[in-house]
Structure formats: structure tokens, C-alpha cells
Amino acid sequence: MKFIDPHIHMSSRTTDDYQRMAAAGIVAVIEPAFWMGQPRTEVGTFKDYYSSLVGWERFRASQFGIKHYCTIGLNSKEANNVPLAEKVMEILPLFAMKEGVVAIGEIGYDDQTEAEDRFYREQLELAKQVNLPVMVHTPHRDKKRGTIKSMDVAEEHGLAPHMVVIDHNNEETVKDVLDRGFWAAFTIYPHTKMGNERMCEVVRQYGPERIIVDSSADWGISDPLSVPKTAALMIEKGIPEEHIRLVTYQNALDAYGQSGQFDEKAWADNPGIDQRELFEGNSILRGQKAQVDLKGSNLIVE
């Protein structure tokens, strides 16, 4: 099985993570442009950060056989520094058209301020101009209203729902997102976001269509193996294998593949993991140093 993690902040992760991710069958990742834990103060740091997403981090991932893609955008938190945000908007087009940039993102609302709203709208327009999908970050506080607003505004600007991935969903938001034709991504992140036992139930209830699983692993306590662990858990819980494949691989490929910059030919020579080669639940591919324990209680992220 091959996995894609379509939302993970690899700049914050170590090579130990890359090794484990590769061993667990992740063949490609999408790293959304985001903040670095504290607000930037100069447009130069944004510029260099974007450069690292298409340069150094892309190279770093390749050393582990993982193909690295990214989204480019001004995130909702830093949109609140308006003079700086205006300068960032000017440099976005420099990066948005580069190879391997699969979406404008992650954009949207954090506190749902006027400034956030302004720059969300401006970037929706940019996405249309450069013909890229959009990755929407939904707020963690007041999520239900923020998610609905994100979709309303996207539609207002004429974005087709199939070009927009609404991320960080939960049981309260999923129905509206799916009903309105958007992609619904779920972030398996301990304590604060979605858990994967709950994820199994969501897939059981709504089916696999347009549902995407990601880890959003970052500087916080998070798990870069969320996607393969969720897949393994789904197998244990009797979710059909085709459904698992869709939510942990194919749907992400279809959604972001609309950019024309995301094609599975790029990792055709990566075999992922062979379920038959799992020995007592351990993935020990020939010649590999890293081992990941894909079994039992180790699978649960809650």
C-alpha cells in the first residue's frame, strides 16, 4: 500500500520522522505554507521560507525516497499584520507557479477577523488566476461557523467546490462540507483535533467519497505516521480496502492532481509497503534501518 500525507509541516520534523514515514509506506507529502510558531516580521522571511519549501525541504525529503510537494499562500494567522500581509501578497506569484506547487494554501480564517477575510478573498482570486486548487484551513475555535463561512466565501468568488479542499474537519462539519461538493480533509492529531478511531466511524457513515486523511504534523505533539496508522486501524476495523486506499491515497491525488503538478508517475518506483511483508505487525522492508510498529494499540491516535 502507498500513502500520501497531503498536509504535513515537514520543516518542523526531523530525519527520524522521514525514515519512519518512508518505512511506513508514505510515498509523497504535501507541505502547506504556514507560520513558524511565532509571527514573522519581515517579508524576507516569508520569501526565504517559500524558497525552502521548493528547495531545501524538497531535497531533504528526496533523500528518504519521499516526493515532497507544497502549497504556497499567506496563512490566516499572519494575515492579521496588514502592512506585512500586503507585501507578502506581492511575492506570492513568484512562487505559486513553481514546479510541485499543488495549491494555494493553507488559507482561511483563524479568528475570523476583517484582515483574515480580506486576504482569504485575495488569495481565492489568485488561485483562480493561476488555476490552482485551494487548501482551506478551518479555524480551531468557532469551527462550525468558520467552516461554513469559508465555503460561502469560496463560492462567492466563483471557486468550484471540486477545486477546494476544506481541511481540519470533524463530526460537526463533515456533512455540510460533503453535501456542498467540497473535498473534506481530516487531520488526525492527538488531543486537539481528529482521532483515528473516530475517523473510522466517519468513513463508515459517509463512505470514502471526497474524504482525505492527513496528519498536519508540526512542532506540536503530533504524529507523522497518522496516515499509515489510520489505514492499518481501518483494516483492523473491517473498512473495505478500496475505501482505505481512497481516503489515504487516491482522493488526495485526485484533489491536488488538478494542479497538473502532482502525478503518481513521480513515485512509480516506490513500492510502498507490502501488507504481506508485515511480520508480526512490524514493517521491516529489506535493507531498511527504520522499523515502525503498525499493530494494535500503537495504531490509535486520539
Partner: protein, 311 residues
Amino acid sequence: MGDAMTEESRTQIAAFLLRVFEQSSSDEESQRLNASLALISQGQRRNFFIAFAGSARFYVNGPLSLSEDDLKLGEQLLPGLKPELWDRLQLARILMLVSLPAGDKSAFLQTLQMLFDTSDLGEQTAMYAAFPLLPWPFSLQLMAAEGIRTSMTDVFAAIALHNPYPFESLDENTWNQMVLKTLFMGLPLYKVVGIDARHSLELATMLSDYAHERWAAGRVVSPELWRIFGHYASQFETDIVQLASSTDPLERAAAALVAESGKLSLTVASHSDAPLSPEKKGSEAWDDLGKLWEEKQAFTAQSSVFDTTEK
């Protein structure tokens, strides 16, 4: 220290490269590229950035295939370069760089710097591959040094391997660092253009010290490290004697080559597994040794995919 290449030869090279590109392009691609090159040569920076930055979207990437005649012509027009190893995207980008007007030096350098500052992995690789074809080569030294300082192997390889720019235009310190780093990164030294012609006692000393470090750590040393030691054999005789007693046939072969060209009276135990054909001498022999070492490394790497022990 102005423009090393004449406008005429640059035009010839551009024509050759364009023809190679068009051999595998669709009509649409060909039209678009030609239109872009014409715009770029008129000098408006914005047009260059738009064309260059959008390359990945406009041109299908893939390998290039050059005929025997093209390869020969390539060797003539682009000594030291191997365009057959580039891909289509890289070639399109190199063509755009070569089309930048060479009249206004400061404008040219500024454009290049702006490009460099926001370049991605693929773009940087193309930029460095284009260096030997660009004007004012000595003004590009600092940028070249960044490419040598990088931790990104692809980028380093683009400036250091199959590229005559370092040999022609880098200062001695940077050249020495580049040679050393090629070995540090486990890359093939035989692919460094001019490796036999540009050497110094200083470089030999740095290399010898590096070998000692590796030996003390119980780590493998590339037999290619000794390539220039034929000129300094007497100063480093102890090293060569140690090399000659190695259990690795490639190391012994290296010792034999150094001993011969350095006129050391040294007996290298010849075993039946002598890997080099005895008729080959000098650069040719070292190239063969480099290739054998490269194959051996690739084989080792394959069997431990995620082994990140140092090379």
C-alpha cells in the same frame, strides 16, 4: 576579465541547444519557447521571470536524446558539458538564461541574483549548469560558491560535475573546497572537469589530511582521492605505501597509478583481481577507476536504502 565567450559562439551554442530541444517538442512548446527566447533577448526582466518561473507548467519534462552527430557537435561547442544528461525542463531553462542580453553587465547580474534568491531545486540546478555559457564568468564566483556550499546534492552536482565553469573561473581556495566536498558527498571525482589539470600541493595536503581523518575513524576512503598525487608522490610517499597494502583492489590500483606517474619505486602487490586494464594510463585509467568505484558505491547504497551512514 570580461566576457570569456564571444557573442558568435554563444549564438551558435544557443542554436544547437534549441535544435536539440525541438527534436522532442510539440509545435506548441516550440512556438512558446521561441517566442519566450525572442522576448527575453529584448531585455525586459519581467518577461524573463514569467517565462522562466512558468517553465514547469509549459514544458513537458523528460529525458533528452541526442544523436551521435549531436553528441559530437555538443562536445565541440560545449567542451566539458554533457547536455545529454540534462532533462527537457533544464534545457529550456538553460536556453532562457543564455538568451539574456549580455550588454548591460549590472542588469544581467541583478537579474541572475534575483532569480537565484527565489529559485527552487530544479531552477537552481539549471542555473548552475548554465554557468559556463554565461557572460562575465568571474562576476559569478560568489554565486558559484553558494552552489558549492549547499547541502543539496543535486545543486552541488550541477556546478561541480560535468561543468567546466569551476576549472575556468573559480579561485584556488574555492576550487580546493569543491574537490574536497565532491569526495565528502560521495560523488564521482572523475566527473569533475579539469581535475587532472588543476592541482596544487595545498590541495594534496588537504586531501591527505582528509584521508588520515577517515582512516583514523575506520571509515572508507574513495580511491579517487589520490588522483592528483602523481605530482606530489614523494611528499606523500607514506600515504601511498599504506594505500598499496590495502585489501581493496581499487585502492591498490590507485596506489599503482600514483607510484607509476610519481616515479615511486614501490611494489604494489598485484593480485589476480587487478581491476584496471594495464594498457590504460593517466586520465583514462583514473576515469575507469572512478567508474568502478561509482558502481561499487551504487551497489552498496541499493542494499541499504535508508542507511544514512556517511560516505
